[in-house]
Symmetry: C2
Subunit: 397 residues, 2 copies
């Protein structure tokens, strides 16, 4: 029986996420992985989750186990809105919020609702790999704009827009970006909103790490500058509570939310209701704020540890970012060293990273790579960076 | 700002699930709802979930809160396979299983992987409304085959296949069907497998209610007859544990599972990991079997209660099914009474049902409607059916 003939055209073209593939290889070997994008298990408030679950089941067990609405648990949507307004001086309400099964689903829904084959979509170069997977599935026309130390290249974006660029959507991770760790400064955020207004395109702001700032001063999210008129903001509890409970959300104009919930109905009817109730209790009682302080202390130390190790063990000709928050550091190797080609040797040496090329919509910079500092222990960070430094040194000879 | 111009063609055509819309109307009024498809909150093992959650968080909290693989928690997949093999004398293993965010997502993934615009897809008439929503989104060419008391009309399916019918996929809910409550008998199941082999199409078997049999003898699922060569089997814990935890699964050939997990990656990365661990513990310790017995006792009484009420309060010229399990009874009103048109009056009289027309891919039978007997209390079943009976009587005058 030949299975292939049954597949849709879409299914024939599907490719696995490279990061998921790398994770599989690593899981089978004894390797220090600086590759994945996972939070530290030490960041999970297990005891808190246990207590909240118990209370929840005792007080509202039947509601927490039943089907829910597609837009999401009303009290959770209100709590998310309250929290955003408090943190960012905005005025969104529950009607502007759709709860999703993680931020990943939020991005999928945005793609489904807004992107058509051949639509131009602007992304940063490099950008989050999963958005590229989604845009590829939708056969969008991906246009990338180079990332500088303080955010996207305004010059490059303007040049594209003036040369008959006609984007419908743009996608940014402006704060502690995945993969680069770079934060777009306030001036550039304002500029982006101006350009979006002038050229009439939407902005998707993916903001999973905003609360995880370890140094430097706060920069407001783009949606708070724009007044969520043309910004679609994506948030998640994956890094502030735990990814296993799959709770994310979209903040947008009401009519967009209505369309997005229609798109969600056939996908999974509703987000896990038990998780939504748990998330509500976690947000409402301000437990989240106490937990965030703990997570920041944990990750600040790990980031500093990795930066120290890079200074100690990695040749001077290699460049790296010094992120003020988030989970990742981005390395730029001397021209001519291909991080993808070097990957097999790294595994043999017992260290893994993600080759930077997978984070580019077009023309990948092959001499780049991404390191994660949140998942592994501090002594492993040191040992992993040491192994990587030695490998790069050999390559430079 | 005109939002419409941003939407994809797909998004412009999206329609809300009629049942979800009806549920919204009902929630706002004091109405006895025989409309929805929800389990009774009395069927939820709240105490069990509480104990399992506590144990789980204590013993494996970090794993249950972390990201998981897209295919699903290995031990859960093994437990599902074991259970299926034990119940149905089959030989599937974990590699044949993909865990999904509820059975709804399973159907969405099957659509995404196998159905292309204009592909012919055979469904029962009537059939589960959500599959019609999915097939409409995919612009499939839906071909429906009339349902008889013992399953699909073999004659009608054969006629279609012989007259140049070229289906790629077929979709059946052969056991206690939603919406009709009808069970396809063994002879017809075998016939379907023969026809699928002869005409080379796939069978999707959606089987959420199999374990909920209140009378009559067991009929094996189609996948156990076919040996899951061309049957894609969809299961769920929504009716055996709780829908709020969103755990479903697909059983299929390994290469199909691989494609389906690729299709799942961009949608939500992985199914809620906490729920998967919970589900594993629930299945593994055979708690599920004790709970199923309780649910069956609860629902058997409710079904009998509704059948009694129908005999007592509904005019003789109305026909209805007498399901041996599941959650639904299907009414056929005298020709000329339009259940959709009657719906507003029913709400005014304080009772709700689902008009049968939404369950048809083509040429709806407007004199049909679906009643649910699991969600409401027994006294409400009686009162609801009484109200409905009076209304029908008035219409027949």
């Amino acid at each position: 029986m030949n299975s292939d003939r049954y597949y849709s055209t879409k299914a024939r073209k599907m490719e696995s996420s490279k990061i998921r593939e790398i994770s599989k290889i690593i899981a089978e070997r004894d390797i220090i992985s600086l590759a994945g994008g996972m939070p530290s298990p030490d960041s999970f408030p297990i005891q808190v989750v246990s207590e909240l679950s118990e209370q929840l089941l005792e007080e509202e067990g039947a509601a927490a186990l039943q089907y829910g609405t597609t837009t999401g648990y009303k009290k959770l949507r209100e709590a998310i809105a309250d929290r955003l307004n408090q943190n960012f001086d905005t005025s969104v309400d529950a009607e502007n919020i759709l709860v999703t099964s993680g931020a990943q689903q939020a991005l999928y829904l945005v793609g489904k609702v807004f992107v058509e084959r051949d639509d131009e979509v602007v992304v940063e170069a490099p950008t989050y790999a999963s958005i590229l997977q989604i845009l590829q599935e939708l056969e969008a026309d991906v246009r990338d704009v180079r990332l500088e130390d303080d955010g996207f290249s305004v010059e490059e974006l303007e040049r594209y827009l003036e040369n008959e660029g006609d984007p419908k959507l743009s996608y940014f991770v402006p704060t502690f970006q995945n993969p680069s760790g770079i934060t777009t400064d306030l001036k550039k955020r304002r500029k982006l909103v101006d350009l979006a207004n002038e050229h009439d395109f939407l902005i998707v702001e993916d903001d999973p790490y905003h609360q995880l700032r370890y140094s430097g001063g706060n920069v407001p999210p783009i949606y708070s500058i724009d007044g969520h008129r043309r910004t679609i903001y994506v948030g998640t509890l994956s890094k502030l509570l735990a990814p296993g409970i799959r709770v994310g959300w979209i903040v947008a104009r009401r009519e967009f939310i209505d369309k997005l919930q229609l798109a969600k109905q056939p996908i999974d009817l509703c987000t896990n209701v038990f998780s939504q109730h748990l998330a509500y209790r976690y947000l409402k009682e301000d437990i989240v704020d106490r937990q965030i302080e703990k997570i920041k202390d944990l990750y600040r130390a790990k980031r500093d540890h990795m930066l120290d190790a890079l200074r100690e063990f990695v040749p001077e000709r290699v460049g790296w970012t010094s992120p003020e928050g988030g989970m990742f550091i981005w390395l730029t190797l001397p021209e001519g060293i291909d991080a993808e080609e070097m990957f097999q040797d790294a595994l043999d040496d017992g260290v893994a990273y993600v080759p930077g090329s997978i984070f580019y919509g077009n023309s990948p910079k092959k001499n780049t790579l991404r390191l994660n500092f949140t998942f592994v222990e501090e002594n492993e960070i040191t040992e992993g960076v040491k192994r990587l430094g030695k490998l790069i040194e050999r390559r430079m000879d």
